[in-house]
Amino acid sequence: MIDDQDERLLQDELDGVASPEGSKRLRERLAQSAEVRARRQELQRVTRALDQVRMEEAPADFKEGVMAAIAAAERPSPARTGWLENPGSAFRRRPVLAWAYPFLAGAVSGGLLIALATGNLAPRARTDLPVIGAMLPGSDRGALADHRELRLGTARVALETRRATDGVRVGFEVAQARGAELTLEFDIAALQPVGLWWERPGEHQAELGAGTLRLRVTEDDRGTVVLSPTRAGDALILVKFHHAGESVEAVLHTATLGPGR
């Protein structure tokens, strides 16, 4: 009978990561069990079969194709250390932002207070009602701007940004991530939160701060955050996904591919 420990010992040995104790234990098991020996042979067969798959050359004109596409595309923006790396620096470099910040933060917090007072930020059954003051029309999903999938173990969240008539829509779908926290960070000078929509009723929690929307997920669900852009062009959203003590993050663009992105 092969159990999980036998399987792990065999595969550790195959990958050269077996501990001395593990190797000793495996030798004992190999001497004891014909099944373990047969299993080892099968794993070795798999490895040998994989070894016989050749690395292939990229097509001869591959690089030329890439360079032609690049030549036709927009040049990349110069390196920058923007608000995503250091939010404070944006305010130091742009005094007007520093002046406007308390007003924007106040407006956002006011919206949040109203939402909390009316219960609009609380999770709700599927509805087209707004969360903070704006409708979420279902017919206009908008043009896809970016998408990402973040994983932590089996927990995962798929995200996409779309440019719709009502603003930037950030769609998300969380799976196998009970207790996970999903945080969106954005430049409030470029994007202002308008609405949050969950597909299913539940106990999800949402916390809106200045430039931050933190969602705590209590069950698999999907939803949409709507952000209103205050200026043209691409604005980045930093997404952080926390689950079971680990975290991963990614950046989402909000402008569709084309000049300027």
Binding site: T47, H147, L152
Partner: protein, 181 residues
């Protein structure tokens, strides 16, 4: 190419130097093309996906965090593109039907009869998560830790998925009569 060389090429690319980016393409094209090929089992799709990954890398280079390896970053772009292609393909044509289709050309049959073709078809029967682990370990020859860093997963999760993938692939190859001695 050393990490410093690569850093220099990235900085020159950020300044708009297409030749510098071309050197990054030359360095990584074969490995990335092979990852896409093993994920998708179609040379044309693999070519499209890999070229798109390089184009997106060029366009989004200003978002690349230089504390990480350039390969790790572009690998994730490539993987996203490959998974999108697989999703689109599933919508158009169920994979199981494709695999079971008796309508193969003589060239396809000859290819499948080779061990490499059988292994590739076996890989396509795995889920994308397990397939990715096999590709990283057996074609890119990455260690468990390198795999974990590349795909942002705990090493324990990587090992678990790799081991399961190999178990599943073993069963598939056995079913297909592979007897490599």
């Amino acid at each position: 190419m050393t990490a410093e060389d690569e850093e220099t090429l990235v900085l020159r690319s950020l300044a708009g130097d297409q030749r510098a980016f071309g050197e990054l393409v030359s360095t990584h094209q074969q490995v990335l093309f092979n990852v896409a090929l093993r994920m998708l089992n179609d040379r044309e799709d693999a070519r499209d996906v890999t070229q798109t990954a390089f184009l997106k890398a060029w366009q989004k280079l200003h978002t690349y965090d230089r504390r990480n390896k350039f390969f790790s970053w572009i690998y994730r772009i490539l993987l996203n593109e490959a998974l999108n292609t697989l999703r689109q393909r599933r919508r158009l044509e169920p994979l199981d039907e494709r695999m079971a289709s008796p309508e193969r050309s003589p060239e396809e049959r000859a290819e499948v009869n080779e061990l490499g073709g059988i292994v590739q078809e076996g890989l396509m029967e795995l889920g994308t998560e397990h397939r990715q682990m096999i590709i990283l370990r057996h074609f890119l020859h990455l260690s468990h830790r390198e795999m974990a860093n590349l795909i942002n997963l705990p090493e324990k999760t990587v090992k678990s998925r790799l081991y399961t993938g190999r178990q599943l692939l073993g069963g598939i190859l056995r079913r297909r009569g592979v007897r490599t001695t």
